[in-house]
């Protein structure tokens, strides 16, 4: 193998052949320095040893190249293997060299909304191009199945007291009917409601030191703005990286450490990714100090889905597999499902009227899948668990295709 060449072995832990996406932390792979998409080529090794170039992209979701990039690509027809990732299903080779240019597919994109708008932009500051130097107050991601808008500010150009910060305020599912008087057809499909939003993080909770005589450190995320630190729509996925304002956690180390009081300043990072075809987005959550040390936390979610009275609600959840749930709302053979899955346990799930709240367990790095499902009249019998349980949780979180040996980006083992 030439000097600047890295082997990526992909394992499929499922008892069936799979075509799915793989993410590889370039730093853990040993790729360092100024190598980027212009200087790296990814190929799949064929059975006869020949190489076939495949599309890939590199993202820097924390917005800092120092933290290393994430390589993502699709591994087609990856042979089945044991569920402990002990068998290699496909091998890829990343090497220094000029890649064939892969164009951004038409069905993935990120749009930005800037304030103030400049000449040539509509009043809302809409622009497909990401300009790091300008302040974005919202982003919209889309694939061929749906689009959704994330508010980066509490009150996006609206004279309202409702705090929308860090929430998805509009979801348009291309397979579902669009009401005439609404901008989305999933969060308020019959008539619009100012409260509608999905996946808002209201607070983070940090654990105190073991000997501290106090409760949990709770930090509210409401009322603050997020900074857009990464935005890219490549051949594999559309990704945005959001960074919260600095959060301060106070630890009291007395009587073991001096000085006893330490204020740790850190930021919450939220990385939203959309891949082709499915009406879902993947969200990664992690908290990093300025020099990249990860801190464990518990995130709290809030959603508000508006339906008129008369629409029935049911919840699909297994208490013994508490990593995913779906809330279904239905009337007259039309079902709308709101699915959530995570790689840690979902706790304190409650549906209170139109509100759905839940939290995740303590983790350094949480990956979540948010699914929007429309089940129409002719779609056959409804399985309330399958999409969120199988496509959402099992394939994307519990047993995704992974490169072996297995690696974790956060917490990084020094």
């Amino acid at each position: 193998m030439p000097k600047n060449c890295w082997r990526i072995d992909v394992s499929n832990p499922s008892p069936y052949q799979r075509s799915d996406y793989v993410q590889v932390d370039l730093k853990t792979l040993g790729v360092d320095g100024p190598l980027d998409e212009q200087h790296l080529k990814l190929c799949r090794e064929n059975k006869d040893g020949s190489l076939t170039e495949v599309p890939y992209q590199i993202d820097y979701p924390e917005g800092k190249e120092a933290f290393g990039g994430i390589l993502s690509f699709r591994s087609e027809q990856t042979p089945a293997g044991p569920d402990d990732y002990s068998q290699i299903g496909a091998t890829f080779v990343l090497e220094e060299g000029k890649p064939t240019l892969f164009h951004e597919p038409d069905n993935l994109s990120v749009s930005h909304y800037y304030e103030p708008a400049i000449a040539g932009e509509p009043a809302d500051g809409f622009n497909k191009k990401w300009d790091k130097t300008r302040k974005a107050y919202g982003v919209k991601l889309h694939n061929d199945s749906f689009d959704f808008y994330i508010s980066l500010v509490p009150h996006p150009k609206l004279p309202t007291e409702i705090d929308y910060t860090g929430s998805v305020t509009s979801v348009r599912h291309y397979g579902a009917p669009l009401p005439t008087d609404a901008t989305d057809n999933m969060l308020s499909p019959f008539c619009t409601s100012p409260h509608k939003r999905w996946g808002q993080l209201t607070k983070l909770v940090f654990f105190p030191l073991a000997w501290e005589l106090k409760g949990l450190n709770s930090v509210s995320l409401l009322g603050q703005e997020y900074e857009l630190v990464w935005s890219y729509s490549g051949p594999v996925r559309a990704v945005v990286g959001l960074k919260s304002r600095p959060l301060t956690i106070r630890y009291d180390g007395a009587s073991f450490f001096k000085p006893s009081h330490v204020d740790v300043r850190c930021n919450l990072y939220r990385v939203f990714s959309v891949y082709p075809k499915e009406a879902c987005y993947v969200e990664e959550l992690f908290v990093l100090t300025e020099d990249g040390i990860s801190i464990s936390f518990r995130p709290y979610y809030l959603s508000f889905v508006y339906f008129p009275e008369g629409v029935r609600i049911s919840r699909a959840r297994f208490e013994h597999i508490s990593d995913y749930f779906a809330v279904w709302e239905y009337f007259a053979s039309l079902y709308r499902g709101y699915g959530f899955a995570a790689d840690s346990h979902v706790r304190e799930l409650e549906t209170k009227g139109h509100e759905i709240v839940w939290r995740l367990g303590l983790s350094h790095h949480s990956t979540c899948v948010h699914f929007f499902i429309f089940h129409g009249v002719l779609h056959g019998p409804l399985d309330p668990f399958h999409i969120i349980g199988h496509s959402g949780w099992y394939e994307k979180l519990y047993k995704p295709l992974r490169n072996v040996p297995l690696q974790e980006r956060y917490p990084r083992i020094q």
Partner: protein, 192 residues
């Protein structure tokens, strides 16, 4: 949308109102959707249904009545959707059907009150023999009403025929027995 609701009681009516078909009674008396609502909103609603009908007509070279492709639908109802060209056409037809159901269910949900909706659901449970969900029955009645009666009784406009035939082929999602009880009639077949 206008809300001019009838005075209501919780007690479901058990008998049919003379001079009205059951689907009309359900829409006007049980759900309590006012004539003012239909007068003011029939235009925009019908325009959505007309667009749906146009799409169905464009997909079918002949009248939408064929049975070349059929497949089991919800609750075992066989769907015959006309001259479907490919999977893309099927997706479009699915969408059109969903749009029509959504339009009618929006009228049911937004123009009834909690009380009238509950009453209508109970009425349907007691009076209509079908395996379909009562909310589907209410929606089928309302869609039929929107095509036939709103804002006033009239023959089915030519431009809504395709939607009508499409739902005829699906037995209006409720089955022929319930259609008969409710007074929902299929259009006469057209020799192609």
């Amino acid at each position: 949308m206008v809300n001019n609701r009838h005075a209501v009681t919780d007690k479901p009516r058990q008998e049919q109102v003379p001079g009205k078909k059951l689907y009309q009674q359900i829409v006007e008396d049980e759900l309590g959707i006012s004539q003012e609502f239909f007068k003011e909103n029939a235009g925009p609603i019908r325009s959505r249904l007309r667009r749906a009908s146009k799409v169905l007509t464009a997909l079918s070279p002949g009248p939408v009545q064929g049975a070349r492709h059929s497949r089991p639908g919800p609750r075992g109802i066989t769907l015959a959707l006309g001259d479907i060209q490919d999977v893309g056409d099927q997706g479009i037809i699915d969408n059109v059907i969903n749009i029509c159901v959504h339009v009618a269910s929006s009228v049911v949900l937004l123009e009834s009150t909690t009380q009238t909706l509950r009453r209508a659901l109970r009425f349907v449970e007691e009076a209509v023999q079908t395996e379909a969900d009562p909310s589907t029955v209410l929606t089928a009645c309302t869609l039929y009403y929107l095509i036939h009666d709103a804002p006033q009784p009239e023959p089915v406009p030519k431009e809504l025929e395709a939607v009508h035939r499409c739902f005829d082929n699906m037995e209006w999602l409720i089955g022929t027995r319930a259609m008969g009880q409710l007074g929902i009639q299929g259009l006469p077949s057209v020799e192609g």
